[in-house]
């Protein structure tokens, strides 16, 4: 990083969110059960520079959506801070304080069916943030803005008078994107935006998101469990496992020189669409119950490099040759270098 590096647009430090998943009070008293806490996100740090796409990847339940919801203030943090353009979001309490910041960050959700109100016309859905933030007060200006947004996402102004059920999944995701863009945000949190779509529709949406990023200078926090999608869209990537970050690196480095054993496991699950005939040995085991995570490094029951220290002491992110990794074996230099994922031969 150069010394002139500007402040990151988003800076997350020690962020955690715990959920109380205890049985109801009475049942607990009768059965003498303790309170139970699920640490969905347990102390993570990352930064996102302006104009960058930073992705979080990991298997379901590792806490990706919880991070997304924390960042856009849909959840309150249990611990830690979120700085957006230098402003500590937890210090904003009144609506008048929050609104100018919230206008600048919007979210796109995975399910384009559940996230659009079925009884509203597209025009009202797309204009909703305009109303919420008191932008474009007069009807004509608002309608003009809606038309422009629909065109921008590849729909037509004529679609404004229709209802969500008249659209396919991909078109609905375009409507969500138009809605997210209406308040002119700089920062979009995209939680699995293409996971519910067919691949040919996914490519349309990913292309659209890249176009918009270039045209509007957007910054993305992108979330997906699909490694190839993440490789395609990201500048930098964070790999999550059971509520923590285990590795953070530039997209190319992460795939070429994965450090953390869990990252290596994930990369090994990428299907061989190049038909290289690579034999894979899938790693055994499953993600443990997050209510009783393993001690020390949560990955140790599945890790081929686990030693005593791993069972006792939780590793923290440390600098490696290609980024940051939270792993004792990496720190101790006990892990042999991996071969890069073979780059495909272009036809």
């Amino acid at each position: 990083m150069s010394e002139l590096a500007t402040e990151p647009l988003l800076k997350v430090s020690g962020l955690a969110r715990y959920f109380d998943v205890s049985r109801p009070w009475l049942a607990r008293m009768i059965e003498r059960l303790p309170r139970q806490t699920l640490k969905a996100v347990d102390g993570i740090d990352f930064e996102i520079a302006k104009g960058e796409t930073f992705s979080l990847v990991g298997e379901s339940g590792c806490g990706k959506s919880t991070v997304a919801r924390l960042v856009v203030s849909l959840y309150a943090a249990t611990k830690g801070t979120i700085l957006f353009d230098g402003v500590d979001l937890s210090k904003l309490h009144t609506r008048t304080d929050i609104a100018p910041v919230r206008r600048r960050m919007q979210m796109i959700f995975q399910d384009p069916y559940a996230s659009l109100n079925p009884r509203w016309r597209v025009a009202d859905i797309v204009a909703e943030p305009l109303r919420a933030f008191g932008l474009e007060a007069d009807d004509a200006a608002r309608r003009k803005r809606v038309d422009e947004l629909l065109r921008q996402v590849g729909l037509s102004p004529a679609d404004a008078d229709k209802y969500p059920h008249e659209f396919s999944g991909g078109q609905r995701q375009r409507i969500s994107i138009a809605r997210a863009l209406s308040s002119n945000p700089e920062f979009l949190v995209c939680d699995e935006p293409t996971s519910a779509l067919d691949v040919s529709v996914q490519s349309q949406i990913l292309n659209l998101m890249k176009d918009l990023q270039k045209r509007l200078g957007l910054t993305y926090l992108f979330i997906s469990h699909n490694l190839a999608v993440v490789y395609h869209v990201s500048d930098r990537i964070g790999v999550m496992y059971l509520g923590r970050l285990c590795e953070v690196a530039d997209a190319h480095d992460l795939f070429a020189k994965p450090q953390h054993p869990y990252t290596r496991l994930l990369l090994d699950t990428i299907p061989d669409l190049e038909m290289t005939g690579r034999e894979r040995v899938p790693v055994a085991g499953e993600v443990p119950n997050p209510i009783n995570p393993p001690t020390g490094c949560a990955f140790h029951p599945r890790c081929p490099f686990a030693e005593d220290r791993c069972r006792q002491e939780a590793p923290v992110l440390r600098q490696t040759e290609s980024g940051l990794a939270a792993c004792h074996a990496v720190e101790e230099g006990r892990i042999p270098a991996t071969e890069a994922v073979t780059p495909p031969q272009l036809p």
């Binding site: 691949v199 529709v201 990913l206 890249k210 795939f255 038909m275 499953e286």
Partner: protein
């Protein structure tokens, strides 16, 4: 003779507004021990094809034409009881949701033993031993102890392993697996695919593997049929279809998949979406989205033709009479 032969299969849904054709004149074959992938986007008719083969089409869906033969014998027109016995003994089924195949009220051991004793001559004790062997073979740790557990006591990945054991327990000739890994996490998905591949190879079982995921097909199948709007667009060996697709739809589909290590600014984009059953265009169903469409495509419907590569494609580009005119 192929193990499974499907000829000109047509599946219809009568509705108030007319008859919808979900599967339109499909023919395919699966040989002994072969894994045939069936891939396509949602609504392409994959599941309807699979359900027709295992005799589990839900009414009002019905087979309206063609025939299905297993080991030479027709199975598409059998009375329910007879088909149920064939399904038990010769065709296994695996679905996306393992709970479709498991009864929540019985232990997994009981379900396995019952299936085995119904369809084979094994005694109860032998069936139990066989079931325990199978459970360890599919990777259930401490199989003997887990034998008396109920489906809800297993994780999603473990349940799908139990379903694979259940599908294989009477040594069927064919397994129809409809999106067997779609609901699972990537690391579990890789385990289940490897397992299914190994077991079917060891047991000599043929598989019809239905999925929307080209990655799963590339890892598992010998041959693949690509479906579009109720028809087969292209069929060939996996390598030929994945690396040297000839049908414009398959070509677009392959280009739209992001690949690790493949640095492109934009992915190939097929404009538009697959038509609903009520709006299938005349001629080639892909013509409104096809960059290579020409006049004939808008009026006449192509059947599978030998391409200039190794695959067969339903595309007029490969008709010697009209191509390149």
């Amino acid at each position: 003779m192929a193990l499974l032969e499907v000829r000109n299969l047509r599946v219809e849904f009568p509705t108030r507004r007319g008859v919808l054709v979900a599967v339109d004149d499909i023919s395919l074959e699966i040989s002994e021990g072969e894994v045939l992938g069936v891939v396509g986007e949602s609504g392409a008719g994959k599941s309807m094809t699979g359900s027709a083969i295992i005799g589990l089409l839900e009414p009002p869906g019905r087979i309206a034409g063609g025939e299905i033969r297993l080991e030479g014998e027709r199975i598409d027109n059998l009375p329910y009881e007879k088909m149920r016995r064939i399904r038990g003994a010769k065709i296994g089924a695996i679905f996306q949701d393992p709970l479709t195949s498991l009864n929540p009220l019985y232990t997994i051991g009981r379900q396995l033993v019952e299936t085995i004793t119904t369809h084979t001559d094994l005694s109860e004790a032998d069936a139990r031993a066989h079931a325990i062997d199978l459970l360890s073979e599919v990777g259930i740790p401490a199989a003997e102890r887990r034998f008396d557990s109920y489906p809800h006591e297993f994780s999603g990945g473990m349940r799908q392993r139990v379903v694979i054991a259940l599908a294989l327990c009477v040594n069927p000739r064919l397994i129809v697996a409809d999106e067997p890994t779609t609901a699972l996490d990537v690391s579990i998905q890789a385990q289940i695919i490897a397992l299914l591949k190994r077991l079917c190879r060891d047991h000599g079982t043929a598989v019809m593997l239905i999925t929307h995921d080209m990655g799963v097909i590339a890892e598992t199948a010998d041959r693949v049929a690509v479906m579009y709007a109720g028809r087969i667009a292209e069929v060939g060996t996996v390598r030929d279809v994945v690396k040297h697709a000839k049908h414009p739809y398959t070509e677009g589909l392959m280009g739209s998949i992001p690949l690790v290590g493949h640095d492109v600014e934009r992915l190939t984009q097929i404009e538009g979406a697959m038509p609903r059953l009520t709006e299938i265009p005349t001629g080639c169903a892909f013509n409104p989205r096809c960059p290579k469409a020409f006049d004939r495509c808008r009026t006449e419907r192509p059947d599978l033709l030998q391409t200039d590569g190794a695959t067969q494609a339903a595309c007029w580009l490969y008709d010697r009479e009209t191509a390149y005119v």
